[in-house]
């Protein structure tokens, strides 16, 4: 596959096609190092919503909760049957030199009750289907350096209908405020 020149965020530029079972060690470390994700959902009329959220990752699923999440647009969109969601976790390692990086996850969301920091609470449980990571090593961006997004088709997507690894979701600590 031909290398492509990276642009400001390297989006959509001939990703390195890969099918792996799940996130790489580097991606898991990045997931666990970051505080916030931005999650996009879609209403039945095709209007997207995007908001910052705290999240947790238990090795299989991503969880998104909140203080009163059931009233939020994102929960209502999933409740209405629009279960496809997208999250991006990204940060600027440095503004000078410009050094962005990101992990984007497409997934399927379901609403579950789960024991969080403050007892049982409604959560959005997201099963990753496809993810892309870019420049998680945090190398400075230059126009003459070539970086390809790393694309992963996750097990749940590759084996549709497969039983989830964990059927009851419990986690020892709660979400980021």
């Amino acid at each position: 596959m031909a290398l492509t020149t990276v642009t400001a965020f390297g989006h959509d530029v001939s990703p390195e096609e890969q099918t792996r079972m799940s996130f790489s060690d580097e991606e898991v470390a990045y997931l666990r190092s970051q505080r916030l994700a931005r999650i996009a959902t879609v209403a039945s009329d095709g209007q997207p919503d995007v908001v910052p959220v705290g999240y947790e990752f238990d090795g299989t699923y991503l969880y998104v909760g909140g203080l009163d999440p059931v009233k939020t647009r994102k929960f209502r969109n999933v409740q209405a049957g629009n279960t496809k969601v997208a999250l991006v976790i990204d940060d600027l390692v440095s503004a000078d030199p410009w050094t962005p990086r990101y992990l984007r996850v497409y997934g399927t969301a379901e609403l579950v009750d789960r024991r969080g920091r403050f007892g049982p609470a409604p959560y959005m449980r997201i099963t990753p289907t496809i993810s892309w990571s870019w420049n998680l090593a945090g190398s400075p961006f230059t126009h003459d350096r070539e970086v390809r997004p790393r694309r992963t088709v996750h097990q749940a997507a590759a084996e549709q209908g497969a039983s989830p690894v964990h059927t009851t979701a419990q986690h020892p600590h709660g979400g980021v405020p």
Partner: protein, 135 residues
Amino acid sequence: MSVFTDEERRYLLSGVALGRLATVGADGTPHVVPTSYRYNQRHDTIDIGGHDFAARKKYRDVLRNAKVAFVIDDIASVNPWRARGIEIRGEAEVLDSGGAELGPGFAPQMFRITPKRIVSWGLEEQMSFKARSVH
């Protein structure tokens, strides 16, 4: 007359480097990317461009479905926890020129997002929250 409050306009101009733009793909899957932006005070819009803009998935998405959402947020303080930000839902107009003015090396194409719903939090005081439809 702006659809934004004074506090919101101040925040949009305060230099938060990145926002995140959500679009919708052909199969209904949302897509979300970090991107730079400019609050256009003359048009009261959010303008977004980029490198190779017309080759991007977000560009193809908007040609099919102009409805987008854009959020700018940051953490003003970790202790005490104080998050703040603004979400703008609306429609993106695709312009074939003007994008090159938004950043070095940017393509001529750009989005101009007109707000239809604005949600902001934490801009005035810790617990402030404003949500309303505009236009």
